[in-house]
């Protein structure tokens, strides 16, 4: 008992060990639960935003230009070459990493 000056040794006594008793599992469950909650909130926010946008965007007016761009891209040779190059480079990267 430190009625001696050896107080440093006494203070250096390690903290009492605390048994896990399911603590780590509770933390993991809590993390999973909170992440699901956050994901749900994000989804709801996304749908709400989409609904607001849909209310104000003149979808009928945009349909024509979108169709035109999609068709022109589909028929474009440079675009097809760019897509092929992308696919090819990705395949090579995967092959090299394997």
């Amino acid at each position: 008992m430190p009625n001696t000056p050896d107080i440093d040794k006494f203070l250096s006594t390690p903290l009492r060990p605390v048994d896990n008793n399911g603590f780590a599992e509770r933390v993991a469950a809590q993390i999973a639960w909170r992440e699901r909650g956050m994901m749900a909130i994000e989804l709801v926010a996304l749908f709400a935003l989409a609904a607001v946008v849909a209310l104000f965007v003149p979808l009928a007016g945009l349909l024509g230009p979108i169709t035109t761009v999609a068709v022109e891209l589909g028929l474009s040779l440079p675009f097809a070459v760019a897509c092929a190059a992308l696919v090819l480079s990705q395949s090579v990267v995967r092959l090299v990493s394997d």
Partner: protein
């Protein structure tokens, strides 16, 4: 080292690896928080859970410049400060001694009881430097205080502990 591997895996989103880290560090962290909360196990465990949740969200920011347990301890300390401020648990930054010196008769054999009578900075500084075995520099970094201030808390805390435990 296995701990480092778990940190890398957890940073990549592996929840099982993070659970392994929790299992590895929970005793130290909960022990530290129990000391800070003066033995309030329920509050300490709530804060430990919050600490690990924050660690999970921010583990990508851990740069490995110091030990992982030091990074966790720093989060736990900040969590305790926030809780203490919100719940008005105790004065946070006072350098003053406890207002009414307690009777020392029942403290002689109990480190925890004596420790609970110290001010918060002294309690934290002594625990981190002695029980958790950090250097003064590391402790100052964890507690977010200048090195000189940390050393002063350690010196005054040690002196107060001596008085309490000797009954002088």
């Amino acid at each position: 080292m296995a701990g480092d591997m778990f940190v890398d895996l957890a940073a990549a989103g592996d929840r099982a690896a993070f659970e392994a880290l929790v299992r590895q560090h929970q005793s130290l962290l909960r022990g530290f928080l129990r000391r800070l909360t003066r033995g309030d196990h329920a509050l300490a465990d709530d804060l430990a859970q919050e600490t690990f949740f924050e660690a999970w969200r921010k583990i990508g920011q851990f740069r490995g410049e110091g030990p992982f347990r030091g990074w966790l301890t720093r989060i736990a300390w900040r969590r305790y400060l926030m809780a203490a401020r919100r719940r008005k648990l105790e004065p946070l930054d006072t350098g003053e001694e406890p207002a009414a010196p307690p009777s020392t008769s029942d403290l002689r054999l109990d480190l925890e009881k004596a420790m609970a009578l110290l001010t918060l900075p002294q309690r934290a500084a002594l625990t981190i430097c002695f029980a958790l075995d950090y250097t003064h520099e590391e402790a100052a970094d964890i507690l977010g205080m200048p090195l000189g201030t940390l050393k002063s808390h350690v010196a005054r805390g040690r002196e107060n502990m001596r008085k309490l435990l000797d009954g002088s």
